[in-house]
């Protein structure tokens, strides 16, 4: 369990010299709003640090450890002279042995050390002694490196705590001749020259940011000059630049990359100064719009201040403004948003639209540590929410509106299938989270198997769609009075009394099981003010110091317009 703002412990192990990388990591973390302590292990001390009981790494208690190697260290002489091994099968056997030696270290790490391990793979060779025959023979040098990297990836796919730092891609982006300074390499076994360390450190933040709860969830986009060239209000739908041919193809491609992020769960929103009818017409009718109206979870097209619009989008989506990325071609608007919301990641979009995609690719902030099926559904679900909000405007009372939703929630005991999603929710839910206790998958798994706890998840459906798992409850039930350790819910479904329905179900069962009372707890954080009154609203008595007690169970009544299904939750032990 970790609290909201503790220092993240970042360790670095490498089989070559990485002096200075510790400072680069601290700088990159600081720039991302993360406080860190960094531990750089001694040169080529990987085995000792992982295996010895009293190593610096062990006493450092890392939250995340980066491990780097290269072809020379991982494959030895074969990295230079692979054809000293005569047959393809000799070479394959050799690589499998070396890959096992490397993955054995990773496995030992799992046994010996806490936290995540981010293991670097090997950059692809840019030279082979075989020359043009490299492409003609079996188990050539690039095949050997590929096999080594695949073995590492196979381990990462099996082990939840192991991730891959794609050094092969890093070398592809920057180039071997830029990264390796040959005199420095021979003098000091410096594989990444000092000037490139800040770039690598920035890429490492892709792993550190989600661990520190700093992931971004939504991209707020300007329209004119950003999603298309020109000004829709002046140039008209035929005049704006957006096409599969130049000059509109850079904008078209930018939209394709945004669509790909949207499909993996990053939300998109529009923030544009325009006449809404002009801009919406372009979004709906322009033949080269990759992003459709349904791609956007919130649309603000008007003549208001753009910072005000960002606030409206945050309210619309029930998301913290600190989870936003802002993309606008107008430096003035960027400055306006930056000064109003320093917590927003404002992208310094290059002047040339041909460079927009690169600017987008450089953002490492959208990562999650687990990618669940629900991530792929998320964007869709927010679009449902936008339609639900539209319905809100069309019915007379809130009660009628909620009734019209035909809500159904299903409460279930955690199982193998739901544990990853439950852990993910405990780590990334900030606003509707009564206690903000963060748990790893392992911790959730231990609790759900103990008779002292019940770990429950709940999912919701309504007339507009299936939201999947949207909340978690963990109750301590081994005492006469039950205590709610964790109660959290996704912001997508706030404002529908789902929380009350869940509490009523808990209260009903506490009564049936003979618990004398049900205790709730509220631990304030900078982000969770919205659930401050939850327990009082649900009929609990305020005991002071963030403790709430319910013994008259009738005071916590079910919600009439929410159907609750709870298959076998309460009679398992």
């Amino acid at each position: 369990m970790s609290s909201e703002n503790k220092k993240i412990h970042i360790a670095i192990l490498a089989s070559f010299t990485m002096n200075g990388f510790d400072d680069a990591i601290s700088r990159a973390a600081f720039a991302g709003g993360i406080e860190s302590d960094v531990y750089l292990a001694g040169y080529n001390q990987v085995h000792q640090e992982v295996l010895s009981a009293e190593s610096g790494l062990k006493s450092f208690h890392p939250d995340i450890t980066f491990l780097f190697t290269n072809a020379e260290k991982a494959l030895g002489d074969a990295a230079v002279n692979p054809f000293g091994l005569k047959t393809p099968s000799d070479r394959r056997t050799y690589v499998m042995e070396r890959a096992k030696a490397y993955t054995d270290i990773a496995r030992a790490f799992l046994r010996e050390c806490p936290g995540m391990l981010v293991a670097g793979n090997i950059p692809m060779p840019t030279y082979s002694p075989l020359g043009i025959q490299e492409g003609k023979i079996e188990m050539s040098l690039s095949d050997m490196v590929g096999l080594f990297n695949q073995e590492l990836k196979n381990l990462a796919m099996r082990e939840k705590r192991i991730f891959i730092c794609d050094m092969a891609a890093f070398f592809g982006r920057h180039g071997e001749r830029t990264i390796v300074h040959d005199p420095f390499y021979y003098i000091g076994d410096i594989f990444i020259q000092p000037a490139l360390m800040d770039f690598l450190a920035e890429e490492c933040m892709a792993f550190v940011k989600p661990l520190a709860g700093k992931a971004k969830k939504c991209i707020v986009l300007d329209l004119d000059g950003t999603l298309w060239g020109g000004i829709i209000g002046e140039d008209g739908i035929e005049g704006i630049r957006l096409d599969t041919k130049p000059p509109g193809n850079a904008y078209y491609d930018f939209q394709r990359y945004l669509k790909a992020l949207n499909d993996r769960g990053v939300l998109l929103a529009v923030n544009s100064k325009n006449n809404p009818e002009d801009a919406l017409k372009a979004i709906r009718e322009h033949p080269s719009m990759v992003l459709k109206e349904d791609s956007f979870a919130s649309i603000q097209i008007n003549w208001r201040d753009k910072a005000e619009n960002i606030r409206a989008i945050a309210e619309d989506l029930n998301l913290g403004i600190d989870s936003f990325v802002y993309i606008d071609d107008d430096p003035l608007q960027r400055e306006r948003v930056r000064s109003e919301f320093p917590e927003v990641l404002v992208v310094d979009l290059p002047k040339d639209p041909a460079l927009y995609v690169r600017a987008l690719q450089a953002i490492v902030d959208f990562n999650t540590l687990q990618l669940t099926g629900d991530d792929f559904k998320r964007a869709e679900s927010y679009v449902h929410q936008r339609k639900v909000n539209a319905l809100k405007g069309s019915v007379s009372s809130m009660q009628d509106f909620l009734k019209g939703l035909n809500m159904e929630i299903s409460i279930q005991l955690a199982d193998d299938f739901t544990v990853p999603r439950i852990a993910q929710l405990t780590n990334k839910t900030n606003q509707f989270n009564l206690t903000t206790r963060r748990y790893t998958e392992q911790e959730i798994d231990t609790m759900r198997k103990s008779t002292a706890h019940r770990v429950l998840s709940f999912s919701a459906k309504d007339s507009f769609g299936d939201h999947g798992i949207i909340g978690v409850v963990i109750i301590k039930t081994d005492t006469k009075e039950w205590a709610i350790d964790t109660f959290l819910m996704s912001c997508r479904v706030i404002g529908r009394d789902i929380e009350k329905a869940v509490l009523a179900s808990l209260a009903g069962h506490a009564e049936k099981q003979g618990a004398k009372a049900l205790f709730g707890e509220y631990i304030p954080t900078p982000k969770n003010a919205l659930c401050k009154d939850l327990y009082v609203r649900a009929g609990f008595t305020d005991m002071g110091e963030g403790r709430y007690r319910l013994d008259d169970y009738a005071r916590c009544a079910p919600v009439e317009y929410i159907k609750v299904i709870e298959p076998n939750v309460w009679n398992v032990y």
Binding site: P183, F184, I187, I190, P194, A195
Partner: protein, 76 residues
């Protein structure tokens, strides 16, 4: 000399007033083997040049740095 002193001050954290041709790893605790590399890196960037491995390994004091810069035709 000013540009060279600036680099030495930045990498080795030494007072420019205390630096002379005989300033060396022996009398400067912060001048370790890794800082020798950082120094070469910073000098390459400041003077837009590249040193060979032998030049870097040959440097035993500030006088040697000046000699190599001169060989590169650099005014420092």
């Amino acid at each position: 000399m000013e540009r060279l002193l600036k680099v030495l001050e930045k990498i080795l954290k030494v007072q420019p007033a205390n630096v002379n041709d005989m300033t060396s790893p022996q009398n400067t605790p912060s001048w370790d083997s890794f800082n020798s590399i950082l120094l070469a890196d910073a000098l390459e960037k400041e003077f837009k040049t590249k040193f060979t491995m032998d030049e870097i390994l040959d440097v035993k004091n500030v006088g040697d740095i000046k000699r190599h810069l001169k060989n590169h035709g650099i005014k420092f």
